[in-house]
């Protein structure tokens, strides 16, 4: 009887806290350790911040000088910069004609920031100029040069840059064209289509499955995933787009609905990727082989993947209706560590948990930047050991 009463009381105590979404000390055991993470508002609160509904971070990239540039999606898209020396987010203005910028942000050797806009599909150039001395721009347009449309009628889904060659590569939506844009001449060329049809599905499922990112290898070849999860390569020497005989990993039968969410070039020359089904894989561009490294999480998707100077990969998993978790993968030991929910708890000053994440970037100072992709979003700073 006493035992029954004890369990009853223990259960009710548990129910009394867990049942009502109250934060108890044991919650700290399921989130990223609080001494390794922090968050930034997208501007200077409470007025000069990128507004809610326009703040979902969908692109992050690091400039050669270490500045981190980000772009948002929503009612309007905004460009922002974080100079690691200052540590705060500086909004640079809304991006004219854009409601989304998805993994379509790239910085050239000279520091120019290239933006692939959606839905207009224009390529835009932002040239930083004494940013530290500029006022925060929220309701003013970002000062960009419109370089025009690359593929008529298409939005730009992803961008990457070959800094040495001075060439931008892009992937368009919805028709899945790969294109290049030469910085010196300002000319673009259609390199071909990597998915000719949408996979079989319900009548409302009409989207072609292509990767959400592009990646370059050490030789300047460009890679994407396309139809049936096959890896496509554009070789700039041959000026040829090829469908390689390898696919992103998936359960047999799920290939048509597989895409690569995130790519990462390792200094060793291999390329890591994360798929829509949540698999991490290694792709060797020399041997044209794919190794499936398994799934770190139960959730679909790997919304971001970066490498820290400790040699580990850090990634975020979870779909739009999930609660995102951070993980790491150590190529040396071939082991995962699940770091937990992306949550910052600095009560009584601030506290916020990111549930959807679609952008990550590794800073030159070894800070990992994590972009939240929700109606109210923040930029998270994670410090790898």
């Amino acid at each position: 009887m006493m035992r029954k009463t004890f369990y009853c009381c223990a259960f009710l105590l548990l129910a009394g806290t867990l049942g009502k979404g109250q934060r108890t000390p044991d919650y700290d055991s399921v989130v990223v350790p609080q001494n390794r993470i922090d968050a930034r508002d997208l501007g200077y609160s409470p007025i000069d911040v990128i507004p809610d509904g326009e703040s979902a971070i969908t692109a992050l990239t690091v400039a050669p000088n270490g500045n981190v540039y980000g772009a948002t999606s929503g009612k309007r898209s905004h460009l922002f910069v974080l100079n690691p020396r200052h540590g705060y987010v500086q909004p640079l203005g809304f991006i004219p004609g854009a409601t989304a910028v998805t993994s379509a942000l790239a910085v050239s050797d000279s520091g120019d920031v290239y933006i692939g806009s959606t839905p207009a599909g224009h390529l835009l150039k932002y040239t930083p100029h004494r940013e530290d001395e500029q006022p925060l721009r929220i309701n003013e347009p970002c000062e960009v040069t419109d370089l025009g449309s690359t593929i008529q009628g298409e939005g730009i889904l992803a961008l990457t840059i070959d800094r040495r060659a001075g060439v931008l590569y892009g992937l368009t939506f919805p028709s899945a064209h790969l294109f290049k844009f030469t910085l010196t001449t300002g000319t673009s060329a259609d390199l071909g289509v990597i998915a000719h049809r949408a996979p079989q599905g319900e009548k409302f499922q009409t989207t072609k499955m292509v990767s959400r990112m592009l990646v370059l290898d050490l030789k300047g070849n460009v890679y994407a995933s396309g139809e049936d999860g096959f890896i496509f390569r554009f070789d700039p020497e041959k000026q040829a787009l090829e469908k390689l005989p390898v696919q992103a990993p998936s359960i047999p039968g799920r290939e048509p609905w597989t895409r690569v969410d995130a790519f990462l070039l390792d200094p060793s020359g291999v390329i890591y990727g994360g798929t829509s089904d949540g698999y991490l894989f290694r792709f060797d561009p020399e041997s044209i082989t794919v190794s499936n490294l398994g799934r770190p999480l139960l959730e679909y998707r790997i919304g971001g993947l970066v490498r820290a100077s400790n040699g580990k990969l850090y990634g975020v998993g979870g779909d739009d209706d999930d609660m995102a978790r951070l993980f790491s993968y150590d190529p040396q030991s071939a082991s995962y560590e699940i770091l937990g929910f992306v949550d910052v708890n600095r009560r009584p000053y601030y506290s916020w948990q990111a549930y959807v994440i679609q952008a990550m970037a590794a800073g030159l100072d070894d800070t990992i930047y994590i972009g939240e992709t929700e109606r109210i979003s923040k930029l998270y700073l994670f410090y790898p050991r």
Binding site: L12, T17, L18, K20, G21, Q22, P46, Y350, E374
Partner: protein
């Protein structure tokens, strides 16, 4: 403009903290007792909580949602004409999920709404969350169902799952636009179900998981209001389908002063609001210190908020250990606000020891507040704590919450568990202002 990172609050917090520590307790209201009528929910002693889920329909019938953590919630109805309580159904079964053995439909966690068709609309909610380890898993909670109960036929209509994997933590129904609104848990999204079109819509994130605003207020034009950040008011306009963040804040106490549940929340909101159709304004109670305010949404450019005082047990006003506010605010037909705060931090099985609920009355005409004393049943048992309220057409004020259960020789105690060391069960607590 939102739950943004907030700094610079340390000084007022410290001053308030010192003030609170030197304020002596006052117990004068403890001598006063108010006796209330009650009805238990037969066969449902296991039900362990009720939050907000209480609505009186135009015909005087009272609908309540009874929660059960780790098991199935129930919807019940009390008909004062026949003095009968009816169990209308097991929510998991009504959702068609009884045989799945997954996270059950354990609660209705928000007020019901009565449509112009006479149906009672609501959304369901989960019970246990296991630190969100089961969110999105096959054994976890599948998501809240939007539903309607038709008193004419006695049948339910299940409109299906709205937010996937999430519950309706907070909700309100608007008869004008025929929509059920909700705030989801855990991800704090503003969602709605449009009954006529059958469309479920997600307008995105508004709160953090441990600070989801507990009441959505709807005005006479169908605009929906809630809180985010440090008591800031937002408005959803159904004409534009947009959420607008208003430059308006309700009165709150700085975070870190009040102890109990408020201490561990990152945002501060109104706990509850009620709409006054006569004055066309809301009256509400904040969660941090039970601060009473009015919010006139049609006044000025954005609306107008006025501080009206504090609704708490007499002597608690400036104290740090003021219990977390309850969801029991009701506007009487006599132009008085009725509110039932507990004398100790109350949350059913998660309460901080045993206390007694008080009845506080605020007269809208005179602006006077009165603590009518401890609420007890006719046999002297305590009304430990209440967490929902509504007013009947005849002026009766109904509450649902925890009453003390006492054993009798040879009879097993029927209870939901214990608060402190006192067995409790849920009951409908009835107050008749006219017969006072």
């Amino acid at each position: 403009m939102n739950p943004r990172l907030r700094y610079g609050q340390a000084a007022p917090v410290m001053i308030l903290a010192v003030l609170c520590l030197i304020t002596p307790p006052c117990a004068s209201s403890a001598d006063k007792v108010i006796t209330l009528d009650y009805r238990i929910f037969p066969g449902l002693a296991e039900m362990d909580g009720n939050w907000a889920a209480l609505t009186v329909a135009h015909d005087g019938k009272v609908y309540a949602g009874l929660a059960c953590h780790g098991c199935d919630g129930h919807m019940v109805m009390y008909d004062p004409a026949t003095d009968r309580v009816t169990d209308l159904g097991n929510l998991t079964r009504l959702a068609g999920e009884a045989s799945l053995r997954i996270g059950p439909q354990s609660k209705i966690h928000a007020k019901f709404g009565e449509g112009s068709d006479g149906r009672i609309y609501f959304g369901t909610h989960a019970g246990l969350w296991f630190n969100y380890a089961r969110v999105g898993t096959k054994e976890g909670y599948p998501g809240a169902h939007w539903m309607a109960y038709d008193p004419k036929t006695g049948k339910f209509e299940d409109f299906g799952i709205g937010p996937r994997y999430e519950g309706i933590n907070t909700g309100a129904y608007d008869p004008k636009y025929n929509r059920i609104y909700g705030l989801t848990h855990p991800r704090g999204h503003f969602v709605y179900y449009d009954v006529a079109s059958g469309k479920a819509v997600d307008k995105g994130r508004i709160n953090n998981f441990e600070s989801i605003c507990r009441t959505l207020g709807i005005d006479d034009e169908g605009n929906v209001y809630g809180n985010f950040g440090a008591g800031q008011i937002y408005k959803y306009d159904p004409r534009t389908d947009e959420i607008i963040e208003l430059p308006l804040h309700i009165p709150i106490r700085p975070k870190g002063v009040s102890l109990g549940r408020d201490y561990n929340k990152s945002e501060t909101h109104w706990r509850t609001v009620v709409w006054d159709s006569q004055e066309k304004k809301f009256y509400g109670v904040d969660e941090s210190a039970s601060l009473l305010f009015s919010f006139a949404p049609h006044a000025g450019q954005y609306g107008e908020v006025k501080s009206l005082g504090q609704l708490c047990v007499e002597g608690m006003n400036d104290r740090r250990e003021i219990p977390y506010a309850t969801l029991t605010l009701a506007l009487g037909r006599d132009r008085k606000l009725y509110y039932a705060p507990p004398s100790k931090e109350f949350d059913y099985g998660g309460s901080q020891g045993i206390g007694v609920s008080h009845l506080i009355v605020y007269d809208l005409e005179s602006g006077r507040t009165e603590d009518r004393g401890e609420m007890r049943l006719a046999d002297g048992r305590r009304v430990i704590g209440l967490n929902s309220a509504d007013t009947a057409p005849d002026g009766t004020i109904y509450f649902v919450g925890a009453i003390e259960v006492r054993g009798a020789p040879g009879r097993e105690i029927e209870s939901a568990g214990k608060i402190g060391n006192v067995p409790y069960r849920l009951a409908l607590v009835i107050y008749h202002p006219k017969t006072r």
